[in-house]
Assembly symmetry: C2
Homo-oligomer: 340 residues x 2
DNA sequence: GACTGGCACTCACTACGCGGGAGTGCCAGT
DNA sequence: ACTGGCACTCCCGCGTAGTGAGTGCCAGTC
């Protein structure tokens, strides 16, 4: 049976009320709070249909209705209009992010800001190395047989590694190595560098070859393959807010999942450009995170995506509000990255 | 009234049983499980005394006894012998920490290891910059008016900052600046550098003075004053283990406190050399963390302390075990730092 | 055919009462 | 100084009853 206009309206009302009150919502309360222009009995009939279609359910006979995951999904896809941020929120974002001194600080502030605005758990992925391009490489002699490689990415992220050389090296040779590496790699995306690094070794003369080989090993291993992705997390305390009503009692598995960076990367790192993705309850692949919903989006300078960010909370969350907030913050951070 | 030998023994038994079972312990169960060589009635008399003295209490009449904070304190100070680690645990520590690729990785692994071994929340402070000494400074020209300052500390920690110069600078001048800075600062503890940095500016000739001044501002501000201390955290899921029996219900304030780096630094950063400090329940200054206990110790290469680490959990925790574990891990990490 | 009013029914929630049992405090006895 | 015995307390689990919100359905109305 097709859902007519009013039934959708009823579903919207149920979701909104349930999200607000956290209590199953009955037909009488519905007609009172929203000006549906029909009687409770009619709403009950509509509810029966919605329940048949799987959008809502009753916790027990003779209780009000609660949205199912499918109900939330329909709500998010069709029924909710994006809530524009209030002026106060916009100002809060600006005030909070302005004055960040370095990349670490930006990420840190962003994640706390998100947690605070949405009152959910917030996650921000550090600008991904693999998707960023190289601004500069530096080689720093630590001793005659040891170099420190410092890589500066366009996003401002800096990575460094120590390299043990097979033998002593002259200062001039270091300069030459540095020149060659920069010539070849600057401006390239890290993900595209492996063949170039390979070429660098092959093009080197006999004198430079051994140190260049040592360097390339480290470059490939640690900077490219092991593109160690980092994650910042905040607002876990918000999980304990709902007085244990959400998450039927046990926070444990959720907290555990949140400590696995791999999981978080999967959830918040796999983002397509300028798309906000919403994962609701059972749609989630991670077993322990069914029962939670996730709003994630990519961010980066301009239209490039260098990382993901988002929030996680109970399926019973304010989707329109959270989506709007996550997007606004992502855009703002993207702008900051573009400027620097 | 002085507590005789047996009363102390009874207290010890109560603490041990309560920690193990999480249930108030009665006189009968006590004599059965521990071979006190007296009758339950005698134990009851002892218990009455212990209760008068404030070491144990009854949740309600006709329930068993539970240790008070004072009881735990006495237990920790006088009654518990340090539990030596099992061979398996020692091996676990080694296996877990070996193969860490850099400082970040060491800290990360350490905190997870601690959380896993103790089954509590674990906290590790990154080796503090201010207490570490400088191994090397590097200046990297990014453009003609921009330098990147990279500082490498003895502990392996690396910090970098961008500096905008008042005007264009020559490559030779950069070399000269680098030489002077390193000459003056290498080997010094960061905390001792401010006057030296000041001197560097004053000793500079007219050509080098402006860039050196810009550099010194950044050095002082970001590397010294703002000795941004970082913290790693793991095992928050363990808080939710006790089935909400610990922490009378609400994890919220605790999770909130744990997200405040300032608080964690206070708790785990203020450590004296080679001392393990135990804070029990109400002894804690942070309001929200009464009801939790903290075991913290310092660590660092040799006898130098460069940071703190420890665990936090319910007052009802295995103190001897946790103390032993924290110490062992701290010593192990200290050894690693000494070697590198 | 769509909506409404009315009514019987279901079932969570709360309060109340009532043993059962673990544990205590105290006292008299050894 | 320790022990056995005994009365007492009070939490806990359980069954019962009452209450009320909410439903499903049906007959009636526009």
């Amino acid at each position: 049976m097709a859902l007519d206009e009013r039934k959708l309206e009823v579903l919207r009302a149920i979701v909104e009320d349930y999200v607000a009150t956290q209590e199953p919502v009955g037909s009488k309360a519905l007609v009172e709070r929203h000006n549906l222009r029909v009687s409770p009995a009619t709403v009950r009939n509509d509810m029966a249909v919605l329940e048949d279609e799987g959008y809502i359910r009753q916790p027990h006979t003779s209780a009000g209705r609660v949205p199912t995951d499918a109900g939330y999904r329909l709500f998010v896809d069709k029924l909710s209009r994006i809530k524009p941020l209030s002026q106060a929120e916009r100002r809060a974002i600006e005030r909070f992010l302005i004055g960040a001194v370095d990349l670490d600080d930006v990420v840190h502030r962003t994640v706390r800001l998100l947690a605070q605005l949405t009152r959910q758990v917030a996650v921000v992925q550090y600008p991904s190395l693999s998707r960023a391009s190289v601004r500069h490489f530096e080689l720093v002699p630590i001793s005659t047989t040891r170099l420190m490689v410092v890589m500066i990415a366009e996003t401002g992220r800096v990575e460094q590694r120590l390299v043990d050389l097979p033998g002593p090296i002259l200062a001039d040779d270091v300069t030459e190595l540095r020149r060659r590496i920069n010539e070849k790699l600057v401006g390239k995306r890290l993900v595209d560098t492996p063949p170039l690094v390979q070429a660098l070794v092959e093009e080197s003369g006999p004198a430079l070859r051994p140190p260049m080989a040592a360097l390339s090993t480290v470059l490939l291993e640690t900077l490219v393959e092991r593109t160690e992705e980092r994650i910042a997390l905040a607002g876990t305390a918000n999980l304990a807010r709902g007085g244990l009503l959400d998450f039927q009692g046990s926070l444990r598995p959720i907290l555990e999942a949140l400590e696995e960076e791999v999981i978080l990367l999967k959830l918040f790192g796999e983002v397509e450009p300028s798309m906000t993705r919403v994962r609701i309850g059972d749609e989630n692949e991670i077993e322990d995170l069914r029962g939670t919903s996730i709003v994630a989006t990519g961010y980066g300078p301009g239209s490039i995506v260098v990382g993901g960010m988002g929030v996680l909370g109970p399926t019973r969350m304010d989707y329109p509000g959270n989506i709007a907030t996550v997007r606004a913050v992502a855009r703002y951070v993207g702008d900051m990255l573009a400027q620097s």
